[in-house]
Every structure is written in structure tokens, then in C-alpha cells.
Amino acid sequence: MMVSLTARRLPRFAPLAIGAGAVAVAAGLSFGLGLGGPVMTGILAALLFVAALFGTAWRVEGSRAARNRVASALIYGAFVLAVIPLVSVMFTVVDKGWARLDGTFFGTSMNNISAFDAHGGAYHAIIGTLEQVGIAVLITVPLGILGAVYIVEYGRGKLASWIRFFVDVMTGIPSIVAGLFILAFWVMVVSPMFSADGAPTLSGFAASLALSVLMLPTVVRSTEEMLRLVPNELREGSYALGIPKWKTITKIVLPTAGPGIVTGVMLAIARAAGETAPVMLVAGVNSAIAFNPFESQSSLSYYVFDQATDSSKYAEPRAWAGALTLVAIVLTLTVVAKLLARRSKLSR
């Protein structure tokens, strides 16, 4: 009598065949019996596929293998499930945003545009976003890099570990809370000191501050990670030459970690550019082009929100065009940042 050393296995085409069968049956059930449309077919097909796969595998390969197959199917399925919204969002944004993506959109503001005017654009909002994010970068990059240097190179003991811990905690601060903080701190307490009539002023700069609160932990965290990847031999070599620590850090460690830090900063920019809530609270309302960040300023993400909640029939295409622009900016930044990171020699 021969004992087979390998367990019986389903042929390789079996899952495919079961899948095809499940789709066919599901389509038949939902369209034939009128249970639902394409979405229903998808759900039914998925359920049928899992059930049928489990059944067949159980009969042929035994219960353990059957569970294994179902788990694999579910895990693959989870990934597909996550791609659906991504594709849907991208498709909707491009599809609806395309209509108003013209020269007027990039060349004009919303000044003098009433609800009955078809044109109007996001020029002022783009300027606002660029300035606000730019100022936030100027604030957070030095602060963030120095903070990370402290954590990695100087920090010892309780204070350093507290800082490290709270940098991580700070990444979780909701953006609306950052906005409220700047409202309570800058707008209501500090800005009256600078205004002529002692009244609180909403400004693009306040929005920059709020964005800084959100960007800082991201910059610190990514810089910290990059600094840790700098080989210790470099530092030791430098010390051995008698170069003081601060010079070692600024001339050797930071440049080596440079590309990685840039990546982190770009990711932080991408996050900040997409924030709406803090800008809404502290930046004020301005439909005209404002280059001065100490005035009320719009921003691209707030522009999308504003246009999306406007009743004018011309507003919605503007909102989607704004959303498309925003997504394009943010995704470009993200993709470039990740590609930079991958090319960096320091990454694992």
C-alpha cells in the first residue's frame, strides 16, 4: 500500500473557478431575482466565494487547510476593499474637478464674484496656502530639526524621554484643537497687542501658527529617525579629528541625514496643506488676493469647503476643481517625498 507523503491539494485553478462560479451565481441571483444591482452582486459573489472555497477545501484538503484558504482569501480581499475607496475618490475628484480646471480658475480670485457669476477662481486661495504653509515651514523646520538633534544627540535622562514621548503624543492632537489653541492664544490674546484698535485680528499668519503646531511633531519625528540612521562611525571619526560636537552635528550628521529630513518635511507639508479646520477658525474670510499674511487670507482647503457649502450652482464645480488641485499638490508632494526616501542611502 502506498502512503502519499503530500496531502491532497486542490488544483491550482480551483480558486479561480470557484470565483468565476460565485460571480455568475451572484449575478444571476441579484439581477435575475431582482435582489439588487452591481453592488449587491459584488457582495453576494464575495460571500459565495468564501463559502464555496471553504466547502471544497474542507472536502478535499481537510479543515485546517480550508481555514487557511479562507484566511488568505479574506486577507487578499481586505486589500482589494481598501483600494476601492482610493480609486473611487480619485476618479470622482478628477471626473468632477476637470470641468472648471481652466485658466480663469488659476488666474483669478473670488473677489467681485457673486452667486450668479459663473467664473471666479482659486488664485487667492492658492497664494494663501503657499504663504501659510511656507511660513509654517520656516517656523517648524529649524525648530523641528533642533528638537530632533536634542533628542538624538544631547538628550539624556528624564527630560529627553518626556520630550520624545510627548512628540509622539503631539502627532495625535486633532487639527481642530490646534486651531482652537491658536485662536485662544494668538488671535484673542496676542494679536490685539499688535492691532491699532486693540481688536483681535484673524490672519493667514495665525493659520501658519496652527499649521506649525500640527507639522512640528511630524518634522521632529522624521528627523529623529533619520539622525538615528546616521552611522556612529561618522560621528566618532569626526570626534577623533578633534571637531567639536556641534560642528560634527551641523557639518556631518545633518547633511548626511539631509534627504531623509527633506522627505519628512515634505510629508509634513502635504499634511498641512490639506488641513481645513484650523484655517477655518483663525484665517478669517477674504475673497480677494491678499499677499500680506497678517491680513485675512483664504486657503485652498478652506476654499474647497467654502465653495462646497455655497448654494450657487457655479460653486460646486469650483469646489471640485479646488479639490482636484489640492489632491494633485498633496499627492505629488507625497509621491516625490517617498521616492526621495527610497533613493536615500540611509534608508533600510
Binding site: G107, G120, Y123
Partner: protein, 367 residues
């Protein structure tokens, strides 16, 4: 080498910014045809005005500002539609040069506003008549008639289906679907809500038990931010009903319900039918201070009763160097030409008897 890359990135960003800054336009060149006729009537002054207040008059203000700035190159006027409450606060705190408000100053607010005006007084100038439209979106239903009590029942959540007996009774012969009613109300504090609930309190006391307030107090329904939000929500939701100023119903292209007035007629909302209600309003306040008391139960024939009057609250004197511009702008908005601009935006022009008084008061605004 590594810093070079940083430099390239910074360079690209800088170039993009510069390229953008080079070619922006603030739409300041207006079409000559639009303002040419009105321009002759506009009394120009230079300077900058910050105006804040009611979102109900936002569309009117933007149109007026556009026309005024088109005629007067030195004038810069910003209207921030942040709500009547914020407008009054800004006016009192001197961050706004005058305020747009859906309701008159309360007796408790008047002294502070007067104090701000130094030598003058804070006066109410009724400027924009914004009828409140009851907008709805029901599949295959084009017209709808509602009694105040039915309206109150719907918005208080007691009537939940479109084919409820109360609604069918108001609409004899109409085919209404067996669909749930989705009421949409303002989620922010609003003068529109205050006027609408005031109307319901005055006309349907038994069915409406939530009183008059700026905040929505009845249970149920969904809230949406601003008149814009309500209009946009109704436009998107089948089976929904909401209240917005007529102007927003127009911009969103929504269907408006006919409302029963004190004479028992179901009247359609048009600038003319709303103006009839304003005509019957009673002027309170003394001198140049023109507060209006609207009669929601008006028996005037063909009058649409649900009307909101929004004021400009300004200083009669004590405006400093901004006086000329305030006077010029408000004189324009209260002129026949200025008021004529409103009709196409979905507002009702002021009744002539009231307009004359407003124009006279505006002309007296001093430094």
C-alpha cells in the same frame, strides 16, 4: 550634493510662487454694460470699509459692492457674512464700519452701539428685504401649498410623511409620495431661523411650541451651516424641505412652496408679493432710526407673509474719515437704482414709502 537637491526643490517652489504671483486677477474690471447706467448715480468716495454681518444679505451686498467698486476705483469694501450677531459685535468693537443684521438691536445692545458712535447714534436702516422661501425637493412634485400650522407640524417633527393628511388637505388633487420628510434647518445661530420661528410663533401658536430664537430648537431634522448649506442640502436630498432666503433658493434653483397668508390665500413667493407685506409693515423707532415691525398675519391681498427685513446698523455721526464712503455706499444701496439690482438676485425691493425715508437718513450720515 545633498544640499543641491534641497536647493533644487526650493528653487522649483520659488519659481512656482513667482510665476503665480505674476498673473493673478481680482476681477476688478467689471463689464461696462452692467454698471454704466448705475455709475451715473453713484456718489463716489475713496477708502476702505469693513462690513460684517448677516449672511441673509450676503448676495445683495456682494452685488452692490461690485457695482460700487466698479464705479469708484478708490473704494475698497469687504463684506464678511459671519452672521448678524458677529456683525453687531464687530460694529460695537469698531472692527466693522457698519453691520448687516437680520434683527434690530436689542435694548440691552443699543447703549453700547450708541457709545461707539461718539457724537452720533446707532441707527437702523432697513435695506434688504429677503423673503424666506420654503424650499423643497420631492420627486415628481412641482408645487406645494402649505398652511402655517402644517409648516409648523412639519418642522416640529410631528408630520413625518409627505402624504400625511395635513399636507394632502392643503394640496387637494396633488399626488404626494409615501416618503419620509427630511427637514433641513440652520445648524448655526441665525437671524433667518429667528425670523422663521418668529413667524411660526405668530401664525401657528398651537402647532409651534418652541418659541422664537436664533438657534434651532425643535427636535429632528438635519442641520446645515449657513443658508448656503441649507439650500445645498435640500438640493441634494430627495424628500427634503428647508427654509432659506429667496435669494438662496434662486441661486440653488430650488422649488418654493406657496404659503397661506392672513387672508387665507396661498401665495407664491415673488419680489412683488413679498413687497406687499413690507408695505404693510409698521415703522418703529424715532427720527432716522427706522425699525420695522412686520405683520406676519397680514391680510393684504396677494401678500407673501414670510418676510425678513435686514438692516444696516450704522452710526448717524462719529464715522470719522470713513463717513464719506459709508454715506456714498448706503446712499447708493437705498437709491431706486440700487434697490432695482435686488430683484434679479431674489430679494424684494423696499416699499417706496420706506425707501424714501432710508435714503434720506443715509444722506445725513456724517463724520
Amino acid at each position: 550634493m545633498k544640499l543641491q537637491r534641497l536647493g533644487i526643490i526650493a528653487g522649483v517652489g520659488l519659481t512656482a510662487t513667482l510665476a503665480l504671483t505674476a498673473c493673478g486677477s481680482d476681477n476688478t474690471t467689471t463689464k461696462p454694460g452692467a454698471t454704466g447706467a448705475a455709475a451715473a448715480k453713484i456718489e463716489c468716495a475713496g477708502g476702505t470699509l469693513n462690513v460684517a454681518g448677516s449672511s441673509a444679505q450676503k448676495n445683495a451686498m456682494l452685488e452692490w459692492i461690485k457695482a460700487y467698486k466698479g464705479a469708484c476705483k478708490d473704494a475698497k469694501i469687504e463684506y464678511n457674512a459671519n452672521g448678524s450677531g458677529a456683525g453687531i459685535q464687530g460694529f460695537t468693537a469698531k472692527t466693522a464700519d457698519f453691520a448687516g443684521s437680520d434683527s434690530a438691536l436689542k435694548d440691552t445692545e443699543q447703549p453700547a452701539a450708541d457709545a461707539r458712535c461718539a457724537t452720533g447714534k446707532a441707527i437702523h436702516l432697513p435695506m434688504v428685504t429677503g423673503p424666506i422661501a420654503i424650499v423643497f425637493k420631492v420627486d415628481n412634485v412641482d408645487s406645494l401649498q402649505l398652511k402655517p400650522a402644517t409648516l409648523a407640524g412639519i418642522f416640529s417633527g410631528k408630520i413625518t410623511k409627505w402624504n400625511a393628511p395635513e399636507i394632502t388637505a392643503d394640496n387637494p388633487g396633488a399626488k404626494l409620495p409615501d416618503a419620509a420628510i427630511q427637514t433641513v434647518h440652520r445648524s448655526d445661530s441665525s437671524g433667518t431661523t429667528e425670523n422663521f420661528t418668529d413667524y411660526l410663533t405668530a401664525t401657528a401658536k398651537d402647532a409651534w411650541t418652541f418659541g422664537k430664537a436664533k438657534e434651532w430648537k425643535a427636535p429632528g431634522g438635519v442641520g446645515s451651516k449657513g443658508s448656503d448649506g441649507v439650500a445645498a442640502d435640500v438640493a441634494k436630498t430627495s424628500g427634503s424641505i428647508g427654509y432659506v432666503e429667496m435669494s438662496f433658493a434662486e441661486t440653488a434653483g430650488l422649488k418654493k412652496a406657496k404659503i397661506q397668508n392672513g387672508a387665507g390665500e396661498f401665495t407664491e413667493l415673488t419680489p412683488a408679493s413679498a413687497a406687499k407685506t413690507v408695505e404693510s409693515a409698521e415703522v418703529k423707532g424715532s427720527g432716522d432710526d427706522l425699525k420695522l415691525k412686520i405683520d406676519y398675519n397680514t391680510k393684504a391681498a396677494g401678500a407673501y407673509p414670510l418676510v425678513l427685513v435686514t438692516y444696516e446698523i450704522a452710526c448717524s455721526a462719529g464715522n470719522g474719515d470713513k463717513a464719506a464712503l459709508i454715506k456714498g455706499f448706503l446712499t447708493y444701496t437705498s437709491s431706486t437704482e440700487g434697490q432695482a439690482q435686488l430683484t434679479k438676485l431674489g430679494y424684494a425691493p423696499l416699499a417706496e414709502s420706506v425707501r424714501v425715508k432710508v435714503a434720506a437718513a443715509a444722506a445725513k450720515i456724517a463724520a
